[in-house]
């Protein structure tokens, strides 16, 4: 039963990852791709949670913590770049 739950969680996260990469490929604008990257970072945190539970290697939770902060910094950096000097989409 528990193994089935882990497999189901992995399958759902994998489908979500494919959908996230699909939006990353489609675009159509740079902010859309940043949103997709942020969701992919959240998905990786979910994968780490499943892996920690299935393998029992608790130090990986620290990786999830660092990943959450790094994804935030990346999103803020992209937003600053777009707002200060990015090209406009409508001209």
């Amino acid at each position: 039963m528990f193994e089935i739950a882990i497999i189901v969680a992995n399958v759902l996260l994998s489908i979500s990852l494919v959908l996230g990469f699909w939006r990353l490929y489609l675009g159509p604008t740079l902010p859309d791709r940043v949103v997709a990257l942020e969701l992919i970072a959240s998905l990786t945190i979910g994968f780490i949670a499943v892996y920690v539970i299935s393998s029992g290697r608790t130090p990986f939770i620290d990786v999830a913590m660092v990943l959450a902060l790094t994804a935030f910094l990346a999103a803020i950096g992209f937003a600053r770049y777009l707002e200060k000097g990015g090209h406009r989409e409508d001209d």
Binding site: A5, A9, E38, A68, L69, A79
Partner: protein, 131 residues
């Protein structure tokens, strides 16, 4: 029993993540995609970290899982706000069926400061109530 609760949290969290990814693909414009991914994605990741905390039941693991959830809850809204604001300034096209864009023309293109709507300026200038 612990395994049952953990599996429940894992599957529910993964299901919310999948709803977020579906919203990311299916929603028609940037603010709606932000709306779908930020809330559902953070809820899904948070529920999965709750599953980790329940499964191990150890003080250190629980503290780190709570720290991850705290960071997610603190950073995701700020990042979504920054991306949405930047997207609005860059001129990302809104959905074709959008009814109204309340911010249109209110932002100064150079300084990115927000002006008050003209009706409010008028009514504060003269104290007469507007008919």
């Amino acid at each position: 029993m612990i395994e049952l609760i953990t599996g429940f949290f894992l599957v529910i969290g993964a299901a919310f993540m999948m709803v977020a990814a579906l919203g990311l693909v299916r929603m028609p414009d940037l603010p709606m995609r932000l709306h779908a991914t930020t809330k559902a994605g953070v809820l899904g990741a948070g529920l999965m970290m709750v599953g980790v905390a329940v499964y191990f039941g150890d003080g250190g693991v629980t503290a780190r899982a709570v720290a991850v959830i705290g960071f997610l809850l603190l950073t995701a809204p700020v990042a979504a706000h920054a991306i949405g604001r930047a997207g609005y300034f860059v001129g990302v096209p809104l959905w074709e069926h959008t009814r109204s864009d309340e911010l249109k023309g209110r932002y100064d293109d150079k300084t990115h400061t927000l002006a008050s709507p003209p009706e409010m300026n008028e009514s504060s200038a003269d104290d007469e109530p507007r008919r």
